[in-house]
């Protein structure tokens, strides 16, 4: 490990420990429990946004259908756990990853044929089909009523039912995903994805099978979105068609762009900003409208996102 990598690893570890122990050291605050709930949700959506960032930021694939895999994972976790009558974490989380990856393979097979705006159109339309299936398959998903009564999981006898225990689980999974993405971004695979984003024809000329490369990134990103979906199902004990809907895909995209596409920290910052607007701002404010305006402002004035803007300011 180089010196800068070690410093970064130390910072990540310190931030993570501070976050993971938040319920302990904030216990005296009046709103500690509420804040811990918000942090859990921020981390869940940070995983979702980070997985989307692998496509949008690294591979240059602007997917507007990522909710299909978030919601698909959530449904898979909830349905498999209920049908098998088990609360075992590895079963439901495994079902979420497998289900979301399979779904991503099907959608991606069609979508990676297109580039740019067309890729965006196709992912949007295909994800809407997943939404329609979730909405219509009432026996399986509960249709428009959603799937309620999801149990929180157990792992090796440890029960994650209590809020603080679930908090630790979410923190642990978020750390694992972040480390995986960090490893990926600095690997030759991550570089190859950036190569596809920058100049796909040149990558093909260099002998890369770019379509397979893009499809593999799509499946991987889908699987990670499935992890976020499963955590969301545990968190809310509920899966609704909203989790598969366009609104969730858009929210993920907004998080990636506001935070900074193509950076590892950006999507986490973006998730924090978006959830703060949605859950913390006074409820009489029109959250979606604020979000829309903020998003437009970022696209026009700060396309590199918050993290990108800070980096640029530091360098200058």
């Amino acid at each position: 490990m180089s010196r800068s990598t070690r410093i970064r690893a130390a910072i990540v570890l310190a931030v993570w420990v501070a976050l993971a122990t938040f319920p302990e050291w904030s216990v005296a605050w009046e709103s500690s429990r509420f804040a811990a709930g918000i942090i859990r949700q921020i981390l869940i959506f940070a995983i979702f946004a980070s997985s989307l960032n692998l496509l949008v930021g690294y591979a240059g694939l602007p997917s507007l259908g990522h909710a299909a895999f978030f919601g698909g994972g959530a449904y898979a976790a909830a349905i498999v756990a209920q049908r098998l009558g088990t609360d075992e974490l590895l079963v439901s989380l495994g079902a979420a990853v497998a289900g979301a990856a399979l779904l991503a393979l099907v959608v991606g097979y069609l979508a990676v044929r297109a580039v740019g705006i067309f890729f965006l159109m196709l992912t949007l339309a295909l994800a809407q089909m997943v939404f329609a299936i979730a909405f219509q398959a009432t026996d399986l998903t509960g249709g428009s009523n959603g799937f309620s009564g999801v149990h929180r999981p157990v792992l090796l006898g440890i029960d994650f039912n209590a809020a603080n225990d679930l908090y630790l689980l979410v923190c642990a999974v978020a750390l694992l995903v972040a480390l995986l993405l960090w490893r990926l971004a600095t690997s030759s695979y991550g570089r190859a994805l950036v190569g596809v984003r920058e100049n796909e024809r040149r990558m093909r000329a260099l002998g890369y099978d770019t379509r397979t490369l893009k499809l593999s990134a799509f499946v991987l990103a889908g699987a990670l979105a499935g992890v976020a979906g499963a955590l969301s199902a545990y968190e809310f004990r509920f899966v609704s068609p909203n989790d598969v809907a366009l609104g969730t895909s858009v929210a993920g995209f907004v998080m990636v762009l506001i935070g900074g596409a193509g950076t590892l920290v950006g999507p986490i910052v973006g998730a924090a900003v978006v959830l703060s607007i949605e859950r913390v701002l006074p409820s009489q404010l029109p959250a979606q409208m604020v979000l829309g305006i903020v998003f437009i402002a970022f696209v026009v004035f700060a396309r590199q996102g918050l993290v990108g803007a800070v980096r640029r300011a530091v360098r200058a």
């Binding site: 069609l110 297109a114 705006i117 196709l122 829309g292 998003f295 026009v300």
Partner: protein, 294 residues
């Protein structure tokens, strides 16, 4: 299914196709000229329907709404293009992203305007006087309004075709679709042309909203439905050409209608399957000029 039922469903399919044509024509026009897929198209459609609701309430006339709502949406287009999209000329993806933000703002605006009689509850727009009856066709009653939609869609297609082929603005649009840069070098004010094109596209979305409102009603989520259907139509028919919008809506409208009757569980899967097949075997769409896939 009896022959009478089949005929009824064929008419339903045609009227849905006519509606899809109005919707997709605007989307396709904007794309053809500006290389921008306007993802606020569904929100424009929704806003058109709600403006029509207010105008009909105020004047008591659907026909007034049919004129005012598209004009209002065109006016919005006249504002949006120079204020938001022009700054990002050449950055097509970013322009598309802006239209996403715009659609969030419009949908939330409609949801909040309970005081205008809009809001999040389901609203309905009555059939216009004179078209609220049924006529006997092949032994069964058929609502006249749906026949009107078919005629209206066909008439509009004809009008757009003539405008496109026979007028100066049509010639400019054709030239702009072909090569906007060259057109600009020849001294045409392409900024103005883009603004007008975007306004016409937005107006068409609003028009589709008015025409659809008496049939489908007004509710949250109608923007997303409209956007998805219009995207499917342009992918199937081909982006950026009027004939593509006609072909796409002629396939998707009847396919969706018959699908809903014959295989209700798989109706949506059917039109998505059509889209997937077109993508795999004819990546430009049936009559398009732009390759969507490779």
């Amino acid at each position: 299914m009896t022959l009478e039922d089949a005929l009824q469903q064929a008419l339903n399919g045609l009227s849905f196709g006519a509606l899809l044509f109005i919707l997709a024509a605007g989307l396709s026009l904007i794309f053809g000229m500006m290389d921008v897929v306007n993802l606020a198209h569904g929100a424009f459609y929704m806003l058109g329907a709600y403006v029509a609701l207010s105008v009909t309430r105020a004047t008591g006339s659907f026909w007034a709404a049919l004129v005012v709502a598209p004009l209002a949406l065109a006016a919005l287009g006249l504002l949006v293009e120079p204020l938001l999209l022009r700054r990002l000329r050449g950055r097509h993806l970013d322009q598309v992203l802006i239209t996403i933000g715009l659609s969030l703002v419009i949908a939330d605006f409609i949801r909040l305007r309970d005081d205008w009689g809009w809001g999040a509850t389901v609203r309905s727009l009555p059939f216009p006087a004179g078209l609220d009856r049924s006529v006997a066709i092949a032994g069964s009653d058929y609502p006249t309004y749906r026949l009107f939609v078919i005629a209206f869609g066909a008439g509009l297609a004809l009008l757009l075709y003539v405008l496109h082929r026979r007028t100066r603005i049509g010639a400019l649009v054709r030239a702009g679709v072909g090569d906007a840069e060259m057109l600009s070098a020849l001294g045409v004010d392409t900024d103005r042309l883009f603004t007008v094109t975007f306004a016409i596209g937005a107006g068409l979305a609003g028009l589709a909203g008015v025409v659809a409102a008496p049939v489908f009603g007004l509710q949250p989520g109608m923007d997303v439905d409209a956007l998805i259907y219009s995207l499917i139509v342009v992918v199937v028919g081909g982006l950026g050409s009027l004939s593509g919008a006609v072909a796409g809506s002629a396939v998707v409208g009847p396919a969706d209608t018959f699908g809903k009757v014959l295989v209700p569980q798989f109706a949506l899967a059917l039109i998505f399957a059509i889209m997937a097949l077109v993508l795999l075997f004819r990546p430009t769409g049936l009559l398009g000029r732009v390759r969507i896939g490779r």
